[in-house]
C-alpha cells in the first residue's frame, strides 16, 4: 500500500481529493470505502454517530464506481466519495428511523430525491446517522437510540439535531455528510464540531423523502470538513424537483466556482448587532470579533446592522415549528407503518394510536406536539400561530432591509460552545437558546453557513462563524467561507480539526 492509500491518510482526505484520486486511478473507491468502514468499526462504538451502517450497500456502490472507471466512463465530481446520510432521508430497503422508536423497524419502499441524486452522482452512502428524534433538539440527546458524543470531548454534545452527521465528519468516519436544518440543525452541530455546514436557500434542495418536522422551515444541506467539499456536495443535491411544490425552479447558483474563488475584496459584510450580549460566551465572542477583523484585513467592508425583530425569532420559531410538527407527526398512528402497541384485540384503533404514540415518541416530541396543538387551537390561533407568522414577516423585512446595504451578514453560529451531555436535558428553554442565531434564516428562508473560526480559549472547544446570504445567493456563502477558511488555516498552519484529540 502506498502512502496515499494507507487508512489514516484516506480517511483524513477531503472529498475533493478523494474524488480526484479515484478519477486518476491513484486509489479505488473500494479502498476508500473500506478505509472508512474500518474507521467506523474502530471508533463508532465511542462516538455513536451511526444508527445503521450499510456495509454491503456501500461496497457495492464503490465497486460500481470502480467498474465504471474501468470501462472508461466519465465520473462525476464526487464519484466514489463516502457519505454519512442523516437518518431523516428515506432510503429504499435501508432502515429510516428519524431517531424515533415509532419508526424503529421501518424500511421505506422509496428513496428521497436527495438519496436518489447521491446515488446518481455515484456517492457511496456508508449508512444513516444519529439525530435528535424527528430532528427536534440541539444536542442529539433526544435520539431514541442514545446520544452521540462530540469527537472533541466525548462527554459533550456534538450539537443537534444532526449530531451524528457532524460527529461522523469530525471523527473522520466520513468526508461528507448530509443534514437537515429547521432551526439550525446543520449549522449548530457544525459549529460544535469544527466542521462546515450549509443550510441552502429554502426550496434549494428537495424535501421529497425528507421526513418532515416543520415543512416551511426544513431544508436539507451539505456537511463537510472543507468549504469546497460542502460546495461540491451542494451542487449534487440541489436543484428543482417536481415532486416538491416548494422547490425553486431556477438554476442553482454556482457554489463550486464561488468556493474556488474565495475572494472578499470589496464585499460588504454586516455584523448583526442583536447577536451578542447576555448569554454569549466570552471565548465565542472573542473568536467572532477576530473573524470580523480578519474579514476587514481581507478587503471586506464591515458595518454593523440592526435587525430588531430577531429578538422575537426564537419565540416565533417555537410556535411555528411545533404547530407544523403537531400536524406532520399525526400520521404516526400505528395503522400503516411503524410501531403498534396495545393491539390485543380488545382495544379500538383510537386507543391503540394513543398508546403507540405515548410509547413511541420521546418527551421532546410530545412537548412540541402538544405545544403545536395548543398554538393552533381555536381561540389561541391568532395570538400564537397567527402572531408568529407576522413576526416571520417582520424578520424577513429586517433581512431585506439589511441586504439593501450589505452582501452578507455574519454572527456567531451559537452563543456557546458544546455543553456537557445531560446539562440541559430537562430544561427545554435553556436548550432552545442554542439556536438563537440560526433560527432567523429558517424563518426567512435565506441561505446560511457555519464554518470553524477557532477554539474558545476558556474550554478549547470549537467556535462557529455564521455567514448569511439572501435567498438564492448561496454562492456568496461559499465565496466568503472559502476566503475565511484559507486565511485562518494559513494562520493556524493546518485545519482546525487536526487539533481534535485522537479517539
Amino acid at each position: 500500500m502506498s502512502d496515499l492509500t494507507d487508512v489514516t491518510s484516506l480517511t483524513s482526505m477531503s472529498a475533493a481529493r478523494i474524488a480526484a484520486g479515484i478519477a486518476a486511478g491513484e486509489m479505488t473507491a473500494v479502498e476508500v470505502t473500506e478505509a472508512h468502514l474500518a474507521r467506523i468499526a474502530a471508533v463508532d462504538e465511542k462516538v455513536h454517530a451511526f444508527l445503521h451502517v450499510d456495509r454491503e450497500g456501500a461496497l457495492a456502490q464503490a465497486r460500481a464506481v470502480d467498474e465504471k472507471r474501468a470501462r472508461g466512463e466519465e465520473l462525476g465530481p464526487l464519484a466514489g466519495v463516502p457519505l454519512a446520510l442523516k437518518d431523516i432521508f428515506t432510503t429504499e430497503g435501508i432502515p429510516t428511523t428519524v431517531g424515533s422508536k415509532i419508526l424503529e423497524n421501518w424500511i421505506p419502499p422509496y428513496d428521497a430525491t436527495v438519496t436518489k441524486r447521491l446515488k446518481d452522482a455515484d456517492v457511496v452512502i456508508l449508512g444513516k446517522t444519529n439525530m435528535d428524534e424527528f430532528a427536534m433538539g440541539s444536542s442529539t440527546e433526544n435520539s431514541a437510540f442514545g446520544p452521540t458524543g462530540n469527537p472533541w470531548d466525548l462527554t459533550r454534545i456534538p450539537g443537534g439535531s444532526g449530531g451524528g452527521s457532524s460527529a461522523s465528519l469530525a471523527a473522520f468516519e466520513a468526508p461528507l455528510a448530509l443534514g437537515t436544518d429547521t432551526g439550525g440543525s446543520i449549522r449548530q452541530p457544525a459549529a460544535m464540531t469544527a466542521t462546515v455546514g450549509v443550510k441552502p436557500t429554502y426550496g434549494g434542495v428537495s424535501r421529497y423523502g425528507m421526513v418532515a418536522f416543520s415543512s416551511s422551515l426544513d431544508q436539507g444541506g451539505p456537511c463537510a470538513r472543507t468549504v469546497l467539499d460542502a460546495a461540491l456536495l451542494h451542487a449534487v443535491i440541489a436543484g428543482h424537483d417536481p415532486l416538491d411544490s416548494t422547490s425553486i425552479d431556477q438554476p442553482v447558483p454556482d457554489v463550486v466556482a464561488a468556493a474556488r474563488q474565495g475572494d472578499v475584496t470589496g464585499l460588504r459584510v454586516g455584523v448583526v448587532k442583536e447577536f451578542r450580549g447576555e448569554g454569549y460566551q466570552a471565548g465565542v465572542m472573542q473568536r467572532f470579533d477576530e473573524s470580523v477583523e480578519l474579514l476587514r484585513e481581507l478587503g471586506a467592508e464591515v458595518v454593523e446592522v440592526s435587525c430588531p425583530s430577531f429578538t422575537k425569532a426564537l419565540a416565533a420559531y417555537y410556535l411555528i415549528a411545533p404547530s407544523e410538527c403537531s400536524s406532520n407527526l399525526a400520521r404516526f398512528d400505528a395503522m400503516r407503518y411503524g410501531l403498534r402497541v396495545g393491539d390485543d384485540g380488545s382495544r379500538g384503533a383510537e386507543e391503540v394510536t394513543a398508546l403507540t404514540r405515548e410509547a413511541g415518541f420521546g418527551d421532546e416530541v410530545k412537548r412540541r406536539v402538544m405545544l403545536g396543538t395548543y398554538a393552533l387551537s381555536s381561540g389561541y390561533y391568532d395570538a400564537y400561530y397567527g402572531s408568529a407568522q407576522k413576526v416571520r414577516t417582520l424578520i424577513t423585512r429586517d433581512f431585506g432591509k439589511a441586504f439593501e446595504s450589505v452582501d452578507v451578514l455574519i454572527s456567531p453560529t451559537t452563543p456557546t460552545t458544546a455543553f456537557p451531555i445531560g446539562e440541559r436535558a430537562d430544561d427545554p428553554m435553556a436548550m432552545y437558546l442554542a439556536d438563537l442565531c440560526t433560527i432567523p434564516s429558517n424563518l426567512a428562508g435565506n441561505a446560511a453557513m457555519s464554518l470553524p473560526c477557532g477554539l474558545a480559549p476558556e474550554d478549547g472547544l470549537p467556535v462557529g462563524l455564521q455567514i448569511i446570504a439572501p435567498a438564492m445567493a448561496d454562492d456568496r456563502l461559499y465565496r466568503v467561507g472559502a476566503a475565511i477558511e484559507a486565511a485562518l488555516q494559513a494562520r493556524w498552519g493546518h485545519p482546525l480539526l487536526e487539533e481534535a484529540p485522537s479517539l
Binding site: 421505506p108 422509496y110 428521497a112 421529497y208 416551511s216 400536524s327 394510536t353 396543538t373 393552533l376 381555536s378
Partner: protein, 502 residues
C-alpha cells in the same frame, strides 16, 4: 331501535319554517389523484393505486393536480361564483384511520370559488334560486371494510381493513347558503338542487357524478324555526344521503322529527345523523359534545393557487350551455311538459335522449324508448340508464327499424332484450333471433291461405261482409308466424282474399 316520534308533515309546516343547508361532495373524474400521480380508475386491486404521498408515508409531499384546479374553477364559474385571485390549501387536522396523514388537505377560509347561486326548476316550472356559499378543493379518504360485525357495519366489528386506492382522489365540496323560504317545498327544492347540480357537473364533463357510486354525496343540514322568528334553530346534519329520492325523504323526515321534538318542548341536539334507505328514517350518529377543533392552518407543503384572470375568462368562455336553459330549450323543441322533462331529468335520461336524437331518431321515439322500456329495465336491474349496455346509436337504429316497418314494438322489445344480453347490435340481434317482421308477400300469403283454410267458418263470415271477424284470422296468422308478421298487412291480405264477390 327506538321509534322516532314524528309530527305530521302538514302540522310541522303550519308551525315552522324549515331552513336547509346542503353540502355536496363531488369526486372529480381526473386521471390522477389530487396530490399525487396515482391512477383513479375504479375496480383496481386493493392498495394498487397508492404511493408514498397518498399513503401519507414519512417524507412524502403533495403536488397539486392542475386539472383538479381547473375543474374547481369551471364548477365555480358554472355556479355563478367569484373565483379567488389568490387562495391556499389548509390542513384540517383530525385522526381517522381512513385518512393516511390524519389531516385532510382541504381549503378553509380561502375557497377557490365563493358567492354564487344555482337556479333550480321545480316540477311546476317555478324557478328557485339556491345561494352558493363556496366551492372548495379537497381530497377523498380511503375505504374501510369492517370485519366480524353482523352486517359489515362498524358496530360489533373485530377489526377493519383499509384500502387507500380512493385516498387522495380530488373532491370539490359545494356548500349552499341557508336555503330559506321554500316552506313545504323544502324537500322538493333539496332534491331539485342536487339533481340540477348533478346535471351541471355532467355537462361540464368534470365527473360522472354517479350518486350510487359515491361520486356525488350529499349531506342535508336542516333546522326549523317558528314562523316569524329570525334566528335559526339548532340543525342536524344527515350524512351521506346518496340518491335524489333519499335527499327528499331525508329532508322530509327531519322536518317531521324536528317538529315533534320542538312541539313536545324538547331541544334539537346538534348531531350528525345517518340516513336509512330502507325506511327513509334517520338515526342519531355522533353527538358533538365539544365543538370539533380541526386546528386548520395553511398547508405549508403547497404554495398558493392564484388563477390568472385570463385563465378564468378563458374557462368562462368555454362553459357549456347550462343544463336548465338547455332543458328548457329542448322541452320546447320536443314539445313536452315541464313535468315530463322533470321525469327525464330524474331518470338521468336527458343526455341520452339528446344523443339518440343526434344519432337520427325522432324526439318522441328517443323519449319513448329511454323513458319506457329502457327505464323499466334499468329499474329492474338497479342500474342507472347510462349504465345499460346499450348506446344512443343503437336506440336510434332500433327506432329506425321500427319506422321502416322491419320491427314492430313487440319485436323491438325483444331486440332490446338481446342487445342488453350482449348478443350484438340491433341488426345482429334481429338477424340471430330471426325477429324481422315477415313482410315477404310469398311467405305471408301462404300463412294467410293456411289460416283461411283452417278456419273456413270464419272465412265465410268475412266473405259474407262481416269484416270485423278478420281479427280472429289475423290472430291465427300472427300466432303461426310467432308474431313476426306485420299485422296491418296480414289484415289487408285477408280482406283482399275474402272480399265478397261482386
Amino acid at each position: 331501535m327506538t321509534v322516532t316520534e314524528l309530527a305530521s308533515y302538514e302540522d310541522a309546516l303550519d308551525a315552522y319554517d324549515p331552513v336547509m343547508g346542503l353540502e355536496v361532495h363531488v369526486e372529480l373524474g381526473t386521471r390522477t389523484k389530487m396530490f399525487c400521480g396515482c391512477a383513479t380508475g375504479l375496480g383496481a386491486d386493493a392498495n394498487s393505486q397508492t404511493c408514498p404521498t397518498c399513503l401519507g408515508m414519512p417524507g412524502s409531499l403533495p403536488v397539486v393536480n392542475a386539472t383538479g384546479v381547473e375543474s374547481a374553477i369551471r364548477i365555480g364559474l358554472a355556479l355563478n361564483c367569484d373565483i379567488a385571485e389568490w387562495c391556499r390549501f389548509a390542513r384540517k387536522n383530525y385522526f381517522y384511520p381512513d385518512m393516511p396523514k390524519n389531516f385532510q388537505t382541504s381549503q378553509y377560509d380561502e375557497p377557490i370559488a365563493f358567492e354564487g347561486y344555482l337556479d333550480v326548476q321545480l316540477e311546476d316550472g317555478e324557478v328557485f334560486r339556491v345561494g352558493i356559499e363556496r366551492a372548495h378543493m379537497e381530497e377523498d379518504t380511503g375505504k374501510s371494510t369492517h370485519i366480524g360485525g353482523a352486517t359489515g357495519r362498524i358496530h360489533g366489528a373485530s377489526h377493519s381493513l383499509l384500502d387507500y386506492n380512493r385516498a387522495g382522489i380530488p373532491l370539490i365540496e359545494i356548500v349552499t347558503k341557508p336555503i330559506e323560504g321554500a316552506g313545504a317545498r323544502a324537500p322538493e327544492v333539496a332534491k331539485a338542487y342536487v339533481a340540477e347540480l348533478r346535471e351541471l357537473i355532467r355537462a361540464l364533463g368534470v365527473s360522472d357524478a354517479r350518486m350510487e357510486m359515491g361520486q356525488l354525496r350529499c349531506d342535508v343540514n336542516l333546522s326549523l324555526r317558528p314562523h316569524g322568528r329570525a334566528a335559526f334553530g339548532t340543525r342536524s346534519e344527515t350524512k351521506n344521503v346518496n340518491s335524489l329520492r333519499s335527499v327528499e325523504r331525508a329532508a322530509r323526515f327531519e322536518i317531521q322529527r324536528h317538529a315533534a321534538v320542538l312541539d313536545s318542548g324538547g331541544t334539537i341536539l346538534q348531531e350528525t345523523r345517518h340516513f336509512h334507505e330502507e325506511d327513509g328514517s334517520t338515526t342519531s350518529g355522533r353527538i358533538k359534545e365539544e365543538a370539533e377543533d380541526y386546528r386548520y392552518f395553511p398547508e405549508p407543503d403547497l404554495v398558493p393557487v392564484a388563477p390568472s384572470r385570463e385563465w378564468v375568462e378563458e374557462l368562462r368562455a368555454e362553459l357549456p350551455e347550462l343544463p336548465r336553459l338547455r332543458r328548457n330549450r329542448l322541452r320546447e323543441e320536443w314539445g313536452i311538459s315541464q313535468h315530463e322533462m322533470q321525469s327525464a331529468l330524474n331518470a338521468g335520461a336527458v343526455g341520452l335522449i339528446v344523443a339518440t336524437i343526434d344519432a337520427g331518431a325522432p324526439a318522441d321515439q328517443a323519449r319513448k324508448w329511454w323513458l319506457g322500456e329502457l327505464a323499466r329495465r334499468a329499474n329492474e336491474e338497479g342500474l342507472e340508464l347510462a349504465d345499460l349496455p346499450i348506446t344512443a346509436e343503437q336506440v336510434a337504429r332500433l327506432s329506425e327499424l321500427v319506422a321502416e316497418g322491419s320491427l314492430n314494438d313487440k319485436l323491438a322489445r325483444q331486440t332490446i332484450e338481446g342487445i342488453l344480453a350482449g348478443e350484438g347490435t340491433p341488426d345482429e340481434v334481429v338477424e340471430k333471433r330471426g325477429l324481422k317482421v315477415v313482410s315477404d308477400e310469398g311467405a305471408l300469403g301462404t300463412a294467410v291461405d293456411e289460416a283461411i283454410a283452417g278456419n273456413a267458418a270464419i272465412a265465410d263470415k268475412i266473405r259474407g261482409g262481416k269484416t270485423a271477424a278478420a281479427g280472429a284470422l289475423v290472430g291465427a296468422v300472427m300466432k303461426a308466424t310467432r308474431g313476426q308478421a306485420d299485422a296491418g298487412r296480414v289484415r289487408e291480405l285477408i280482406l283482399e282474399r275474402l272480399a265478397p264477390s261482386e
